[in-house]
Point group: C2
Chain length 501, copies 2
């Protein structure tokens, strides 16, 4: 077994090296690459992807994995070797079920669809994108059909980002969450909106970046094993456990833009940086799912860095860094500003509370399209109707309606949204458990000490990489199944206090 495991490691290591090399090329493309480099970069990325795919679908690898599946069966759950083989099986099956000609076809279509969307969105012209979206829907169904054992047509698509999650588990969870959120949002928005003008004062970009970096260093982001650059859309990428990079986007007239994207991405990055070094180079050396990943970005962005305790520590630093902007703004005014709740059109600008409604609308609509219950041509009306009923506002245009997100236009339909809200739910679940184990955390945060919270996440989440699935992690951490209760409690407590509910 030892020799076979070594061969598996060697093969998976090679695939990881190719994928990580591709990530470096993509990072460069989005941060530093001059415009002229685009064409060759596309070619280089395609070549790396093709070679990685060849290696990922090598029959000899499949045979090796099948043999090892039997041989590692008797190892205990959570054993690294066993997990490595289990995950290798998932990745191998996913890669081999889908024929290369289909992969080429869908990539080509999506590239076209993205181009059409980018132009049509400017012109608010949904009809231009409609035939592309219809083909994307066909291709998404075709993808799903490569996994005939799936319970629901959307499940194989959800599986790509949130392994093990199903429509049958997500749908009731979201229905319950919606029914609990709606009254909270109604109660909040029936009161006068918070004044966030203090956030809109001009601050030089470099000073904003420096302040954000000072803070995430304290949170536990390790700059010896990472760096921050600027890009059009903030993201986290990792080339190794010891090289996990983030990007941010700065607006000189909006402090919240760069600051909260920085703490958000730092949350993603600390997860990747915290994976056990023993997993380096294996298929286990990354976050286990989109939901758990998002739990970490949302934990550090929202629960921590939009929290009252955090600003007891950080507000004096902010005032010191930007006396002209915040010297005469009270801590309470600032705290209310960064937690302003409002019914809005755009998901990416939404506050912590209403955000989930945006996500759940998309989830329902994409599942509806996949099921055949919603035709693409009816998407704009369906979208607007849901915004009216759930958020109480009517999008004035498709540009700011069903054309606002790239996901459906630059990817498959299905599986891309649920992770955002699962992340919110999980962030509160994990945080509540951390508080149970270490009740001093809020007091530590008030003193700018984040080691305790970071160490808890490290111990219970980060170090395991992909060893456990989302459900297994939740069970191990909390002793129970995924539940929305801690998240609802968290929102009620925080916003109850803010809005005197």
């Amino acid at each position: 077994m030892e020799a076979k495991l070594n061969e598996l490691k060697q093969r998976l290591g090679e695939i990881a090296d190719l994928n990580n090399a591709a990530s470096v090329l993509s990072w460069d493309q989005l941060t530093h690459m001059p415009p002229g480099g685009a064409e060759a970069r596309g070619r280089q990325l395609a070549t790396l992807a093709r070679i990685a795919q060849e290696k990922q679908t090598d029959e000899a690898l499949g045979k090796l994995i099948d043999e090892l599946l039997v041989e590692t069966q008797s190892l205990p759950a959570g054993n690294v070797q066993r997990a490595m083989v289990r995950v290798a099986k998932i990745d191998f099956d996913r890669a081999t079920r889908v024929p290369p000609e289909f992969v080429a076809r869908i990539y080509q279509h999506i590239a076209q669809s993205y181009q059409v969307w980018a132009e049509a969105r400017q012109k608010n012209d949904f009809s231009a994108t409609q035939p592309y979206l219809e083909k994307t829907l066909d291709l998404s169904r075709e993808y799903s059909a490569f996994f005939p054992e799936a319970e629901h047509v959307a499940d194989p698509l959800i599986d790509q980002s949130d392994y093990g999650m199903k429509v049958s588990t997500v749908r009731p969870l979201f229905a319950e969450l919606r029914s609990r959120l709606v009254p909270i949002i109604q109660a909040i928005t029936s009161q006068p909106a918070a004044d966030d003008s203090c956030l809109k004062q001009p601050i030089p970009a470099d000073a904003q970046v420096a302040f954000g970096e000072k803070i995430i260093r304290k949170l536990g982001y390790d700059f010896e094993r990472g760096r921050q650059d600027k890009s059009a859309h903030p993201f986290t990428t990792r080339f190794s456990i010891n090289d996990v990079r983030i990007t941010t986007r700065v607006r000189e007239d909006d402090f919240s833009e760069a600051f909260f994207s920085t703490t958000h991405e730092a949350g993603h990055a600390m997860y990747e940086q915290g994976i056990d070094q023993a997993l380096e180079g294996t298929n286990l050396a990354s976050g286990t799912s989109a939901g758990v990943h998002e739990s970490q970005s949302r934990l550090w962005e929202n629960i921590v860095s939009r929290g009252k305790d955090f600003w007891i520590f950080a507000y004096p630093l902010l005032q010191e860094a930007f006396p002209a902007q915040f010297g005469n703004v009270s801590q309470d005014t600032f705290y209310r500003a960064i937690n302003k709740v409002q019914r809005s059109l755009i998901r990416t600008d939404a506050d912590e509370v209403t955000y989930n409604l945006h996500v759940m609308i998309r989830f329902d609509l994409e599942v509806g399209m996949l099921e055949g219950n919603l035709a693409v041509r009816h998407l704009p009306e369906a979208w607007n109707e849901r915004y009216r009923s759930d958020l109480g506002i009517l999008p004035p245009s498709d540009k700011d309606g069903c054309m606002q997100d790239v996901h459906w236009y630059g990817g498959t339909i299905g599986g891309a949204f649920q992770g955002y809200t699962l992340g919110n739910v999980l962030s509160a679940l994990f945080y509540r458990q951390a508080l149970k184990d270490r009740p001093g955390i809020p007091e530590e945060i008030r003193h700018g000490k984040f080691d305790g919270l970071h160490a808890w996440m490290q111990e219970h989440i980060y170090r395991h990489g992909r060893i456990f699935t989302t459900d297994e992690l939740v069970m191990r951490c909390t002793g129970g199944a995924l539940t929305i209760e801690p998240y609802i409690e968290y929102l009620k407590q925080k916003y109850g206090e803010l809005y005197d509910l």
Copy 2:
């Protein structure tokens, strides 16, 4: 033939993509990578190199090339297809002659040797490096032996960077050059040294970088297809004809450090940016040899940006950018400062005139070692003796003597140095020809117009990539063989005027 050529292009394109991807990873390693990333990066680069090597030595590729060699024989010299096949044959032979186990062995040894040198150099301890250097010499000879048809043991090593050059052609050229340079240097250094204190005034790094970039934009470096970053040692790298990047190193107390490294690297980069777009993705899309490459860096660094005509245009801009530093320095004082000639110990700090003596000493010593006429243990004495006889100074330590350059300690012995001086010789040869074809160039330069010179290089050098060898290029440009006369004339005229010789 068409189908075979397409297959060849596809195969070479894949190899180019892998090598260019590796170049992106190396660039990142030297410019932006956090320290933690080093270990994984080594692994990723090794994987890319191994896969590229497998593809480069594929028997099917060899067979295809051999068939195409016959089929393209009747095409005219300079035909792109014919050149592609010719160059593919050279690269394939070079890759297949050398067994993979040898490649692994030499890389491993060199990595160790480099580490030992980096530490031993600090301690001025040549004896620590001696056994490593002895093994490097053995391995360099072993490499050479894979090419038994070579006239001289050093020729296969020279061939790697300056294809077609041989000890039998370089040695007499260098002997002649030395005999002509020594009296010029003697005449110059018998006069009082120029005062270069104006260059040692403090200037903020960012302002220096901005000034350098403003200048190279005028020279013709295209920032839409490139960018400049900082690194420990300046270099040029290209990921495609349309993405050619340079780096610089700034010293706030020495203006010449960043400025001349920037014009130097821009010279390399304009060569790569100027390659015919039709060659993109083929094996012809890079400079043809180290010597021709260096002719371009030295042309733009020395002949242009250390020239009198250039500063007639640029000195007012410099004074405007840095009035505190240069407002009261005369143009003549500045011009003398940037062209100060002195007998010195360190190659990389040497002026344009003495630089070649440093290079030729190294060339003779490495050829001597390869021939078995110089034992590694005698290298320090031999080095010092040559510095005494050629440059009239005795190195006070091996640190600033035979341990100063990384080349022998971090690579093979042989072939790494001749290109520097060939480049100087070629820069003057090409420049003289450009002046013959377009006599207005100096006047254009005085007005900050570099299009004429750039267009000549583009037409006669850049666009051809690797289609022609160094000798073929020289013959096509000048109608004759490589000669040192234009270079000697250039030095005599410039320094004759500066030093009233």
